[in-house]
Amino acid sequence: MTDAPELLPLGPDGLLVRFADQLSEPANRAALAFRAGLEDIGNPGIAETASSLASVLVKFRPDVLARKALEDELGSMLAERDWLEAPLPAGRRLWRVPVALGGAHGPDLEAAADAAGIAPEAAVEDISAARLRILALGFSPGQPYLGFLPEHWDIPRQVDVTQEVPRGAVVVAVRQVIPFANAAPTGWRQVGRTAFRCNDPGHDPSIPLRPGDEMEFLPVEGRTLDRLLEDASPHGGAERFEIP
């Protein structure tokens, strides 16, 4: 892990502020807080910002703001405080999302539990008890990377890619959980399924989640999930709470 945040070019109109080159909770918190701080400044030369697992992307307008000037501004902002110690930004929400774990909806639950060195029942307990944070949205639009499960969940991706998991598949690897936005191939293990739609062009906003939001999984019976999938109810029966 590098000690200082790095400023790196990403395209002629992009700058990446990288807090760590490995997955880490403080680096994710730093990325969320730093992006929130940048948005507050509202520099007209900045076109858009986004945070990933451990970095912030700043897209700028080279005709308005020179890279050097932006680097200076970001550099002094980085020096203002220890961003790795920053609290989480305000305005976050908690999503409580029904999920069916194991059985037909979670074909890899046992294999995943085995890889984590625990019994399937303990795996269900871990996943239902975890309060997970949306570390980043990406891969597919609106799709969250959720972290972190307890350390024994630092399990690798599968060697063989599963050709396709359905939309709503809940997959795990490397202490993270992802509810899939769309059917896709994956090397992660499918432990469950949710009716939550990460990206629903029929709704406004089409992408309900924001990085920094939190998520808890509420275990339900397979039958209950079948019904939620059938009803196509908004957010798949999930409840949303403001985090004070």
Binding site: P9, P12, A20, L23, A54, R61, F139, P141, G142
Partner: protein, 336 residues
Amino acid sequence: MTTGLVVERIGPAASVQDLGRPGWLKAGLSRGGAADRSAFIEGLALLDLPLGTAGIEMAELGGRFRFEAPMRFALTGAMMRATLDGERRDVGASHFAAGGAVLDVGAAGSGVYAYLQVAGGIVTPVVSGGRGFHGIGGLGRLLRAGDVVPVAPDPAPDTPLTRLERPSGTGPVRLMPGPQTGLFSPDMLKAFEDAVFVRNPRANRQGVRLDHQGARFSTRAQLNHVSDFIAEGDVQMTGDGTPYVLLADCQTMGGYPRIGTVLPTDLPSVAQARAGEELRFRFVTVDEAEAAWQGDNELLASLKLARIPQSRDPRDVTDLLTYDLIGRPPEDVAGH
């Protein structure tokens, strides 16, 4: 009142496109939009359209379109042979179609992506801030035969027609270093610049795969780097060291190392390379990349200045009656 552009025949990968949906990276959606932004903006310039206007993107194969109302239109991008009611029409120029006229666009003779812009602009519903099809974003869909694309009326059908001279520079594709360039050894970077790549048949709006003879491009150490942001134009090395150049509909994040980022001004030449065509790359510094950067507004303004009036010999003009030669609105004579 909207009119229609009737899609009578269409290739399998054609879609409505605009210049994309900026501002959604935070939600995991890449900008998307026209695969060849320069060619798309050429079409806007030819018809005096603003940057937000949508047009039709055709990939490799063209299509047949019927104009329900009189309309100026422009063809840009890949060299597709086009006829309007049987008369040849050039790519890189604006033209006038009478109501009921049929535009037949053939397969591309060179290039991949061609654009059909209409002077009224396409007015399909705006979804998440744009009209374009975005495959992995699940937004919009590909065009199908039988579609009637809604189009606003031509605001100024009497405007003189223009054309643009197309630049023909074909040097190596320029790329700038990115966050992971340092993971590749100097020898590997040199080998990348020396290699002659051939575009693989596998290509779409997400990216194009490149083949070459010689060693694979792997990073110095196979570190388990955390997934991070991807930029349009990034040259990504998959697990087995095969390069992919990422285009408009790319993912926003990924874990594969990227050797550099193709400059936006040079990316159209990658998007327009046909399967089997050769491509070479050359690194430039970040400063050089920044100097070469051009905003869409600036490009549109410069293209408008570069327009040349179309002088056509009246004896070659079979649709002469549809021109406003005596002050009558063209509608009166359309359809003869």
